[in-house]
Assembly symmetry: D2
Homo-oligomer: 348 residues x 4
Amino acid sequence: MIIVVSPDATQDEVARIIARIEESGRKAHISEGQERTIIGVIGSDPPELEDMFGSLPHVESVHRVTHPYKMVSRQFNPTDTVIDIGKGVTVGGSELAVMAGPCSIENEGHIVDTARAVQQAGANVLRGGAYKPRSSPYAFRGLGEEGLRCLAQASKETGMPVITELMTVRDVDVVAKHADVIQIGARNMQNFNLLDEVGALKKPVMLKRAMSGQIEEWLLAAEYILSAGNPNVILCERGIRTFETAYRNTFDVNAIPLVKELSHLPVIADPSHGTGKWGLVAPVARAGIAAGADGLMIEVHPHPEAALSDGAQSLTYESFTKMMLSVAGIAAAVGRTLSGVKATAAAR
Amino acid sequence: MIIVVSPDATQDEVARIIARIEESGRKAHISEGQERTIIGVIGSDPPELEDMFGSLPHVESVHRVTHPYKMVSRQFNPTDTVIDIGKGVTVGGSELAVMAGPCSIENEGHIVDTARAVQQAGANVLRGGAYKPRSSPYAFRGLGEEGLRCLAQASKETGMPVITELMTVRDVDVVAKHADVIQIGARNMQNFNLLDEVGALKKPVMLKRAMSGQIEEWLLAAEYILSAGNPNVILCERGIRTFETAYRNTFDVNAIPLVKELSHLPVIADPSHGTGKWGLVAPVARAGIAAGADGLMIEVHPHPEAALSDGAQSLTYESFTKMMLSVAGIAAAVGRTLSGVKATAAAR
Amino acid sequence: MIIVVSPDATQDEVARIIARIEESGRKAHISEGQERTIIGVIGSDPPELEDMFGSLPHVESVHRVTHPYKMVSRQFNPTDTVIDIGKGVTVGGSELAVMAGPCSIENEGHIVDTARAVQQAGANVLRGGAYKPRSSPYAFRGLGEEGLRCLAQASKETGMPVITELMTVRDVDVVAKHADVIQIGARNMQNFNLLDEVGALKKPVMLKRAMSGQIEEWLLAAEYILSAGNPNVILCERGIRTFETAYRNTFDVNAIPLVKELSHLPVIADPSHGTGKWGLVAPVARAGIAAGADGLMIEVHPHPEAALSDGAQSLTYESFTKMMLSVAGIAAAVGRTLSGVKATAAAR
Amino acid sequence: MIIVVSPDATQDEVARIIARIEESGRKAHISEGQERTIIGVIGSDPPELEDMFGSLPHVESVHRVTHPYKMVSRQFNPTDTVIDIGKGVTVGGSELAVMAGPCSIENEGHIVDTARAVQQAGANVLRGGAYKPRSSPYAFRGLGEEGLRCLAQASKETGMPVITELMTVRDVDVVAKHADVIQIGARNMQNFNLLDEVGALKKPVMLKRAMSGQIEEWLLAAEYILSAGNPNVILCERGIRTFETAYRNTFDVNAIPLVKELSHLPVIADPSHGTGKWGLVAPVARAGIAAGADGLMIEVHPHPEAALSDGAQSLTYESFTKMMLSVAGIAAAVGRTLSGVKATAAAR
């Protein structure tokens, strides 16, 4: 950590800052510049330190020089983490993971039918929400445990692993029982108690980035899970909130290569939430894979205009199938595979 | 709800949109413009409707014409809500509520001493965190239940009501037992299960705005609590996340008068989080009251540079006392009172 | 335009709104909803109208139902515009335009050498700044007219068309004389007088999106140029300003397919400014092309660490060459060509 | 400047960084931390330096420790600057400056009438736009020179100094001839050529903050004007662009005290643009003064619903008069005066 001293500080005042650093058991390394004195603090730097030194009299600014996360960083683990989510699917290797299905599970027939359709088009993981975070208390909030049962049935019939959202610590057991991957939604990225509890499991967790989550905060949220004992974390970029009102969210494509550089964890792109408009889903899906994502999460519904949630951003079976063909072309161009998409189709 | 039809839609395609509206049990009112056909949808408009109609073929855009919230709106209740939080303090009347104290409770002596100091300066509610949301898993996360016990002791010694944060449904009972007001933090504004559970209590709840929470989302989050049965909700503006890096958050002063116009609920200004810099706290506190806030939430610490969290934004006893004098002047100018601040002092 | 009347308006007050609409020479089409009266305004809707009706007493909100731009819209011209920028290069057709070169022109040798290197790697347009917008008055602001002369020389030696930035109306003639494409930078997207003046030319203009420019504002800025008589406008997405501090800007990949849907104008992706970090340039360039961009603008410098500006986001000759190979693979996957990249190399 | 070296750098690689620093004529001061080597760079630090050292191999990050601006900073000039704008009005002293009038000048009668009304209510500077930046080329763009003539007439009849916007270098002479203060609008905050040209005058300049202008960029834009020779710069906070769509802009009240701390220049609050909604103007005006602003800029129109621009955010004569009374109370509370508001009225 580096402390920049105000230019108006006297020698005595600088000495008092140094005394505080030494009291804390660290060493101070002084550097007298032309305009300002700079003090390098040598020793451990827990998160508290920044605030503590930042509020000392005559300290102008404090600069952290190390990343605040450890276990999620590429320095801690230089090799890409590949996560086995079961039923023959891994996330983070050369094969892309494509998680597709409806926003909300509406009934057994609906989820089973959608599962078959997305599998046919090349998806290898089934998504479906049983517990739905909704801005309004008057909106449809999901089928709950009955939805999980329908999802399990669809998994059984197709052999696909399933991912579904967990919203509260009260549902950890029931969700962990039915899901192959537990999704932590954007609104819960910093629900630290929930992170603690999924960190106590071994089940893979997909952690979505918060609407206004900085990359560093997102990696620290993942660090909560890893440091609690669960190494099986998948990140998911799903768009951020900006000033632009032409789309629901702004898909942050920069995040994909930066997170791959900073961390060893796999990253999934979610262009459905990342755009909020079905017409933009396919081009942004291609962009995500071209930028290095390890897979996609896509909302698909047999009849988007009748969906109980997120209809405006859902693809039909037909548009999803078409999207998968174009994504397969991009996958090949960046040295990844999408085995579910028939080779002849992909070749067009 | 208003549906704008794409200019390329044929008569038949418009007819199909109308048929869908009527199938849903609503009436369609058609208006042929020069460039576009507009359809007014008459009937109930649950949140689903926007997405449902928005994904119909040839629908260009959908405009909601009513607010999605009801019980929190000023139309539902035209009179300002005044909430009795106990121990002789109300929030929302002509007397301002000033909630002051440390970010984290560090030990009993620390909180009792701070309580006395802030009371002396004119505060009427004691704040203090026992459960702390921290970006890093390695930061100090609060004393937990022991902290609540210290807080209760400080309340007993000073007679002040206390406010403290609840982070997870697992702690609802213990927090409700010790707190006079339960705080829901910014990161939990859309933790809908937590909102459901505090909605089932009668205890006053202070709901902070999320870092990227739109006014409408914030009011809908309050609606969760009211619609679950708890009418005692206080809102708290604590700064939003913007592109500006010169402060930790950007205090959104516009939100104060707008929320007072849209809703009957009281609103508290939190300039400590709203700026993140102690030097800006007093001027922004004055601004909040001048704009119509019903009170303040301020972080105060005997020795900010030794605080276990948020030192950089905490006031000392001395700077808090000075701030209170200046706030009392503003309060008088807008027809509010701050009885705790000695009249002679306020007159300077 | 649709006017939503406040629920508290009396019959008389609604009648007064209608009278104002009719006075303005438009027709009012009334629709009585369950909770609110809605008035469709039929007739021309210049930009003033929104504000004018929005400030009438008892008007709750005003919704525009048409786009405010005309000549740039796809409805006005359903076919993709292809712009001939001279020296055998077009922008907007199946061949991608790759504009590469240094941020600032430093001297003749520097720009000629860079031109040859980027041409060798497959670029078909040379970029280079002679007039540089710099946040600080103390930074290097470009060589000015001497820089334009060096650029012209590089164009002559390589046969490549050149693009360079115009910052002020005082330099219109000299920049138009030397440049094949005039660049309007992000900070000048809404410098309306400058737009008027380049609109009076026939020379192609590349219009960068402002740091906080909404898509609609960007298209309206292009409309200034088209409506002034110059149809040769190329759009350029160069990243927007968000809360994320891990990169200089956030490349908005959503903008690419949306602008292609709303407008017939070609769109270039600038991942150098869109990320501000050289390590992210190649993946984000691939993403831009995968999302449908008509080309790229890339900063390349022989020795980035010695560059007079933007060193941190510049590619070396070697990294640019490598990037072009990977972009060629993506181009092929989306049915575009990049003829400058040798087929054998692209095949790897 | 501080350079943080990547942990993977060898001794030789560190030596090469040091060699580069010394080659540039600066001294390197090395500090070996537990995890990283930190190098303090001692010597001048022009803006280029950050990029130059930031792109050296094995440099992880670069931290600037001095502010990049000089003449605008409070260290350069510790005393508040008070600017005499003529006709007996100063900006920056204990008397507040209230600049009021219509967004656009519509004709002579309109501006003269408004001038008298705002003067009567206590304003001491007349505002009015002759050249209007408008998002759409089809909107009313102002009366131009004829508008300036009308403004001059209103100034003559009331004795008030006038402020009006300058949009292009082509109009510098004509605007400087008629205006007492030249306004540079938000969209031109980084129109560096325009800043250079008003810097060559002595006429006071009011520089509005850009929609996404960071405080540092805003102060650097002011530095352009001061460093070009014109010390008479007034800053104006007019709201920033955020994710919130409930208002046109988000008034950044934090900016007021921070800019007063960092700089000696006076700051004006513009709650009309800062909110975009007339109902929020008065409370946000009070907030601005309570936070320490040196004055206000307010849009006033005799009939807002008939205004040619910005009707939705304009006050009527009556609401402006009422606002001034409430602002006078706040002014008194913070030790400022507003002499134009009758003492008896202010006391209510």
